[in-house]
């Protein structure tokens, strides 16, 4: 049996998803083991094997492809457990990474904190001043050498850093190296000669973009996480090989693709923060199958709410990354996050006598009050439990009983302070949380010139399917898809398993419109041949590689803004490039209103990017037969009184075991579908269908809407009316 497996070793749990040759899907979870991630991974694989009805050895030996998403790099960085990293910088510019452009105190923080200087501080330096060596060398903005590299100084600095200061990784970041990498390359040679065991990388390789601060950060972070990441990838690959894996382990990248572990270990920065990208790719993969083109992909977990967009069938690509208040530029599938999830704390604002929800979170520890791990302040999950959206004995398939009384007491205590009963307070908490989620989505769409009503929401993550009924309704989107039903909480793992090989190769070179045709053609040719060479190194022939070209374009002088414009294939002509400029102008006007850009203002292309993809084959997902069984007998667990926050009243609501629902079943709201890893709420007037792929499709309460026509799979109504309004 051949399996296609994705593993997401992200948060509290290591998630697995597998597809077999027949296109059937399997999911499993195991607790993540911080001390050795491979232990948790194998535990999850063991659980997966059980689901598949086989042994770990047979599962792994029979695996055609195994892709791994991991937060190992992020953890190393946030917990400052990375390598002792030295930095070689241009003379006079070694402080750049310490000064952080003056934004180190505030980058990436919630706006509220910006008004509170005493609550902000800079992060602990990744590389302290003593480990930064300044080297005499200088290029100018054209890449012309102003001062040659002082090779003796490089050697002396490396000796000092390695032998006296004990660094195990070195980052080289010289000014304008992306224009002329000669000095960085030479310095790297010296490092390799003097200290062959030390990991070394250059800024022009890691993040070849204008802006020494961001480029230096990217390079230093890369070096900082490289030794441990390489060891981790290597250990995981070794153990899998020993267990019988016949193919190279693949590692998820922020580009949305995967790379072989050995390749990923060269520049581990591109794997950093790839967790949310897995879910987005999983959504994309399903969306293509279902014919959905505009998707708001939402992942709500315990502490955060992540939003990514798929527009016209393509995920949005951005390049701004902030981690621990350090900022760097690297192309990535864009996701935006706010602190909003099941663990978000509800608190009283004493001055307005109102309730605030988040951004503070109870996190996994102590967690919500109902977890009975010491939490005392009510959270969104507690409110869900009070309302009845969650049941005390159905959480995590019944393996984790929840303390409803404690949740009620905590919510009631908060409510008393504003004169609301426990139900109203709980409903309010959920409503506010949902508004915050909707607000983020609205920002992400409206600010880009899109109307949320043209989108479907994909809701996944532990807390997403339970709350989508409300925040999606609030936005007025076309409908909600809970991708893969029970697989919604492991969608990132599924996304890893469906990813293709992807390489982004780019070069920063500012060109003013009308663009010089020959220069651009030779630049594109050079980047493409680099991409092909790299793919060839991974055993992929030129015939397999699909190449797309993009230009990052902006109005002259617009340092903080650029739009990604697709460039045509083949030999670029003056006319084609003129069209690209027109495309840019019209995109700009679409986004920011007609006339936002000035015709008189010049347009420039700042970065040329090659996006190279090798499509990895996989079986088509199996299609289910329609169920003949009428609903009430299928997986009906009974009824529960649920207080619906949008209805402000308790309604007798149906409860179903989601595992029993099949294509063809339709569940009218109010109802809750319970699954081992998540629950789905169906609001009053909404209906839920199960499609042929096991996705749950929520139709929102919009009489006369055309939502149904946008749903991928048709569903037949066989449900019996349950409850209704009283």
């Amino acid at each position: 049996m051949g399996y296609y497996i994705g593993v997401d070793g992200g948060g509290t749990f290591t998630d697995c998803a597998a597809m077999d040759e027949t296109g059937r899907l399997y999911y499993a979870k195991a607790a993540t083991t911080q001390e050795d991630f491979a232990v948790g991974m194998f535990a999850a694989l063991a659980a997966l094997a059980e689901e598949c009805g086989t042994t770990v050895t047979d599962l792994v030996a029979g695996t055609e492809r195994l892709s791994l998403g991991t937060t190992v790099g992020t953890n190393l960085l946030v917990e400052r457990r990375g390598a002792r990293t030295g930095l070689l910088a241009t003379a006079g510019h070694g402080d750049s990474i310490l000064m952080m452009r003056g934004t180190g105190r505030t980058a990436g923080l919630e706006p509220d904190l910006l008004f509170h200087p005493q609550a902000t501080a800079k992060p602990v330096p990744l590389t302290p001043r003593a480990l930064i060596a300044e080297i005499d060398e200088r290029m100018d903005y054209k890449g012309d050498e102003i001062v040659p590299l002082d090779e003796e100084a490089v050697e002396a600095a490396v000796c000092r850093l390695v032998r006296e200061a004990g660094v195990t990784a070195i980052a080289i970041a010289f000014l304008f190296s992306f224009k002329n990498p000669a000095h960085e390359l030479r310095a790297m040679e010296i490092v390799r000669r003097v200290a062959p065991d030390v990991y070394v990388c250059c800024s022009h390789q890691v993040a070849p973009r204008l802006g020494e601060y961001e480029r230096t950060v990217a390079t230093v972070i890369n070096s900082y996480v490289a030794p441990a990441s390489a060891a981790y990838f290597g250990r995981a690959a070794d153990r899998l090989r020993e267990t019988g894996l016949r193919h190279p382990l693949l590692v998820m990248q922020v580009s949305g693709g995967v790379l072989p572990a050995a390749k990923a270990a060269e520049i581990p920065l591109t794997s950093l923060g790839s967790g949310p990208v897995g879910g987005l790719i999983g959504s994309l993969s399903l969306a293509r199958r279902l014919g959905h083109t505009n998707i708001i992909a939402t992942d709500m977990g315990g502490t955060s709410f992540e939003v990514g967009l798929i527009i016209g069938g393509e995920p949005l690509v951005g390049d701004e990354n902030v981690i621990d208040q350090y900022r760097y530029r690297l192309p990535r599938l864009e996701t935006t996050s706010i602190a909003c999830g099941g663990g978000s704390l509800a608190r009283l604002d004493p001055h307005s006598r109102s309730i605030r929800v988040g951004p503070e979170s109870a996190g996994a520890e102590p967690g919500p009050v109902c977890y009975r791990r010491g939490g005392t302040e009510p959270t969104v999950t507690d409110a869900d439990l009070v309302l009845g959206l969650l049941s005390a004995d159905g959480f995590l398939g019944g393996r984790m009983p929840l303390d409803r009384e404690a949740a009620v007491a905590a919510v009631a205590a908060l409510g008393e302070q504003v004169g609301l009963g426990p139900d109203e307070t709980a409903a309010g908490i959920v409503r506010i949380n949902n508004t915050r989620a909707a607000e983020l989505i609205r920002q992400q769409t409206v600010v880009r010139g899109y109307d949320p009503r043209d989108f479907l929401v994909y809701a996944y993550g532990g807390a997403g399917p339970l709350h989508a009924f409300a925040f999606a309704q609030e936005l007025g989107v076309k409908g909600v898809v809970v991708p893969l039903g029970n697989g919604a909480s492991t969608l990132s793992a599924y996304g890893c398993s469906t990813s293709d090989l992807v390489l982004n190769i780019e070069r920063e070179q500012v060109l003013f419109a009308p663009f010089p045709v020959d220069e651009l053609n030779s630049l594109v040719a050079e980047l493409e041949s680099r991409a092909l060479a790299s793919m060839s190194g991974m055993g992929r022939g030129a015939g397999e590689v699909e190449i797309e070209r993009y230009g990052l374009m902006r109005y002259s002088g617009q340092w903080l803004h650029s739009l990604l414009v697709r460039l045509p294939p083949g030999e670029l002509t003056a006319e084609a490039l003129e069209r690209a400029v027109d495309d840019f102008r019209s995109m700009y006007d679409t986004l920011y209103g007609s006339g936002a850009g000035l015709v008189s203002q010049g347009v420039e292309l700042i970065t040329t990017r090659i996006h190279a993809v090798v499509r990895l084959s996989r079986p088509d997902q199996a299609v289910e037969k329609a169920s003949r069984k009428p609903l009430p007998r299928v997986g009906r667990l009974g009824t529960r009184e649920i207080f619906w926050p949008d209805h402000m009243g308790r309604l007798e609501s149906e409860v179903f075991d989601g595992r029993q629902l099949r294509h063809g079943n339709r569940v009218p709201g109010p109802a809750v579908i319970e699954l081992p890893y998540t629950s789905i709420a169906v609001g009053v007037g909404q209906t839920l269908d199960c499609d042929v792929f096991g996705n749950f499709v929520l139709r929102l309460n919009r009489p006369g809407s055309s939502a149904a026509t946008h749903m991928g799979a048709a569903a037949t109504s066989v449900g019996a009316s349950a409850g209704g309004s009283r």
Partner: protein
């Protein structure tokens, strides 16, 4: 010199505060044409959940205004320096939300909008889809470059609210590129004033008005892009508010707006209750009203706190003169900035409730509240940071007297003049005219506070999110090469019990051009940033220039100079505010943004922290000993015994060098010993009043148990006394505690190496005063002052 001092400047209280003769000060009740219908009705009850949902949306809508401006604008000063602000205002022009951008602009938007309500509601009328543009600082902006846009949001024919933004536009005309007209002596030498005019009429941009505005600029395309960015920001906000009104109804949203303002007012009042009644003051000196002027001028901010209100004035400020003036709106905005940051830090930018409790009573005809026709275009670099600094000093001292935890929020002065740095222009490496405002100094530093060290290159905290451009950005855009850009050392500048964060310096040369003109540079002849409650003042901001240097030869030899003093060449002495200079081939110049205010006596600094700074290379072993009295090895290991002895010796020296005010005799030791136990040590209110107010770790005001105090001929027996932590009675509570201190007056450039100056004539006009406890030698206060000026009586408490 020909400065504009109206003959009758001071005391012409008969001039109206109308935005024409004098800065507009909105009356309590606005006079609005009755044709304009205002939406004022509100839902009496909004449940706490709906309230929070709408409040959250409004806050996000305002942030979107800012995001849009930041993304779409093209001048670095806007997109990187965050030199802009956006706001949602009530129908009456009260600022509800401001964004986390340049703080002092927020309230100018309110004042401008109120002026429009009063003066434009009849003609040309205020209609749906309009956008008004204003550059007139007398109406409501900080200087002409900070052009404000404000747009009414209508609902069912009634004016529901306003959305507004203010953006610094690179050049709005006037004789100087960049429009900072440092030599102006009246408004006609400044960029033109455009009082509010309709840039957009019922949704259509008026081409005539747009061109009228852009036509003044040297860089109309840049300003045009920025203007469109600002308009796009307003459009986004207005559309989102309309959606909110459709969803929840105007009366509900209005109720939320009012309730949010009320809540922010209550939050502010709660904090005021943690502060004893009293008066606090700060005094900042500046120099040169126009290039060549050798005068010294004073900015004062005085804050009186009485119950749940604050009263702010600028009494003691110099009469308006030369080009160093700002208007009423700018003064108010600048004072509200530190008030908001230190007292409304938890309100997410709802500053409207704060201004309800603050009454402004500035003296007109002064440099910080100038009357027409004083020029004000330079306010952005000359006055605004100075007024923010002056207000910060007063607010920080007020907060230092507050009950914990509010006391911990007091932060020292961040910047007096250095922000705004340097404006230059010329022909770039591609042969095109360019004009640049350098933001490389934006790394800033957070000064010391009453509870912790400041933050090294932690930004300018009253412009949250402000960024320095990358060296690579600069060099790609402008024909220059940066030889170095690095953090300062934690030397004497900004030293204290808690030290200031260190700021930064850089040095440049030309590259790809043979000349470049600078319009604005800062070369202070003396340090101006006052220390906080015994801390060292901030350092001296400087701009130094050498011409005909050996830089080409050195670069050719592979040597990149890392110390300006090592560069061989002819140093051209520059005054604090000189005329434009032309930098030619082989020029090298350096800019230093100094460290800011320190807090408390440096001798009280934890020696371990000094050791840490030495270990990290931020302080030298020599500086540790000289500034802090700490004996420490190269590795940061502190010699505790030597340190104790060293510090004792410094305190002894202070007692020897300090001089008692002749009018005051030292109190007898008997009283000093007794006073420590007086009325307990709790800061908490006792019987409706506080028993003790801790001002800093050494200085307290205590309530005495009866009339047993030492009088020393200072009038009737005092019920409160200033005491030092050592037990020393300093002075009666009704007087300036400084009068009970030993005072040492030294040259202002002798504080340490960070203060040395090139300009002895100016330096000699100033002095540095240290106020010591006459018993233990603790340093309780410091002042940079003009020689001969009275001590600044900056703390007066009423228990």
């Amino acid at each position: 010199m020909n400065a504009v001092t109206r003959d009758d400047a001071l005391g012409t209280t008969d001039l109206p505060w109308d935005g024409i003769a004098r800065g507009y000060a909105p009356p309590d009740v606005l006079s609005i044409n009755s044709r304009l219908r205002l939406q004022t009705a509100e839902e009496p009850e909004v449940d706490p959940i709906t309230y929070e949902v709408i409040r959250n949306s409004l806050q996000n809508i305002n942030l979107e205004n800012g995001h849009t401006i930041q993304k779409l604008s093209i001048s670095p000063i806007t997109m990187i320096n965050r030199d802009f602000q956006c706001a949602i205002l009530t129908e009456m022009g009260d600022v509800m939300f401001m964004g986390p951008y340049l703080m002092y602009l927020a309230n100018t938007l309110g004042i401008m909008t109120k002026w429009i309500l009063e003066n434009r509601s009849e003609s040309p009328g205020i209609d749906d889809g309009d956008v008004f543009l204003n550059t007139d600082p007398y109406v409501g902006s900080s200087h002409q470059q900070d052009t404000g846009l404000t747009s009414p949001v209508f609902w069912e024919g009634e004016l529901f609210c306003w959305v507004a933004n203010s953006v610094h536009y690179s050049d709005v005309g006037g004789p100087a590129p960049g429009s900072f007209c440092l030599s102006s002596t009246d408004i006609w030498e400044d960029p033109p004033l455009f009082p509010p005019m309709k840039l957009v009429e019922r949704g259509r941009v008026r081409a005539d008005m747009e061109q009228l505005y852009l036509r003044q600029s040297r860089v109309p395309s840049t300003v045009g892009m920025d203007l469109h960015a600002a308009l796009a920001g307003l459009t986004v906000s207005r559309q989102r508010i309309i959606k909110l009104l459709e969803r929840y109804g105007a009366q509900t949203v209005k109720a939320v707006m009012r309730k949010t303002l009320d809540a922010s007012e209550r939050a502010f009042v709660d904090k005021l209750h943690m502060i004893p009644d009293g008066r606090w003051a700060e005094r900042i000196y500046t120099e040169a009203a126009v290039p060549g002027d050798r005068g010294i001028y004073v900015s004062r901010v005085n804050i009186v706190k009485e119950g749940d209100r604050l009263y702010v004035d600028n009494e003691g400020t110099s009469p308006q003169i030369g080009a160093i003036n700002n208007t009423y709106a700018a003064f108010v905005g600048a004072v509200l900035a530190p008030l908001t940051l230190m007292l409304a830090y938890d309100l997410g930018g709802v500053c409207g409730g704060v201004s309800r409790r603050v009454e402004f009573r500035p003296v007109p005809g002064t440099i910080t509240c100038a009357d027409y026709p004083a020029p004000v275009s330079s306010a952005g670099v000359c006055n605004m940071p100075m007024v923010v600094a002056t207000a910060t000093g007063a607010v920080a001292k007020m907060l230092a007297c507050a009950d914990p935890p509010l006391r911990d929020k007091a932060i020292g002065i961040a910047d007096v003049h250095a922000y705004g740095g340097w404006i230059f222009n010329g022909i770039d490496q591609r042969g095109r005219f360019f004009m640049a405002m350098h933001s490389g100094m934006a790394p800033g530093a957070v000064p010391a506070s009453t509870s912790r060290d400041g933050i090294d290159t932690g930004g300018i905290y009253w412009v949250p999110g402000m960024e320095a451009s990358n060296v690579e950005d600069n060099e790609t855009s402008w024909p220059v090469l940066t030889l170095y850009r690095r953090q300062n050392r934690a030397d004497a500048a900004g030293a204290g019990r808690y030290r200031s964060g260190v700021a930064a310096e850089e040095a440049w040369m030309l590259h790809g051009t043979d000349e470049l003109d600078t319009q604005v540079y800062n070369n202070e002849s003396f340090a101006k940033c006052q220390g906080l409650l015994g801390g060292n003042p901030g350092g001296r901001a400087f701009f130094r220039w050498k011409r005909n240097t050996d830089i080409s030869a050195r670069i050719a030899a592979g040597d990149i100079p890392q110390d300006f003093d090592e560069v061989e060449g002819e140093e051209v002495p520059l005054s604090w505010k000189g005329r434009p200079i032309r930098l030619e081939r082989d020029s090298v110049w350096t800019l230093n943004l100094p460290n800011f205010a320190g807090y408390g006596d440096p001798l009280d600094r934890d020696p371990e922290l000094v050791g840490r700074d030495v270990a990290q290379g931020v302080t030298t072993v020599g500086e540790a000993l000289e500034v802090y009295g700490v004996t420490v090895g190269q590795e940061g290991l502190v010699d505790e015994k030597a340190t104790a002895a060293g510090r004792a010796a410094i305190r002894k020296r202070r007692l020897k060098e300090g001089v008692a005010d002749p009018a005051v005799m030292s109190p007898p030791d008997a009283w000093a010993a007794a006073s420590t136990g007086v009325a307990g040590s709790s800061q908490a209110p006792v019987n409706g009043g506080r028993a003790r107010v801790i001002i800093n770790e050494n200085l307290s005001l205590v309530r005495t148990a009866g009339e047993t105090g030492f009088e020393a001929g200072l009038g009737p027996a005092s019920r409160t006394r200033y005491v030092c932590a050592c037990g020393q009675d300093l002075a009666p509570g009704e007087t300036d505690f400084k009068k009970g201190c030993l005072v040492k007056e030294s040259p202002v450039d002798a504080i340490g190496p960070g203060y040395t100056s090139f300009d002895m004539e100016m330096t000699e006009k100033m002095c540095f005063r240290e106020f010591f406890c006459p018993r233990c030698g603790a340093r309780l206060a410091t002042e940079v002052a003009r020689v001969g000026d009275e001590y600044l009586w900056d703390i007066e408490l009423r228990l």
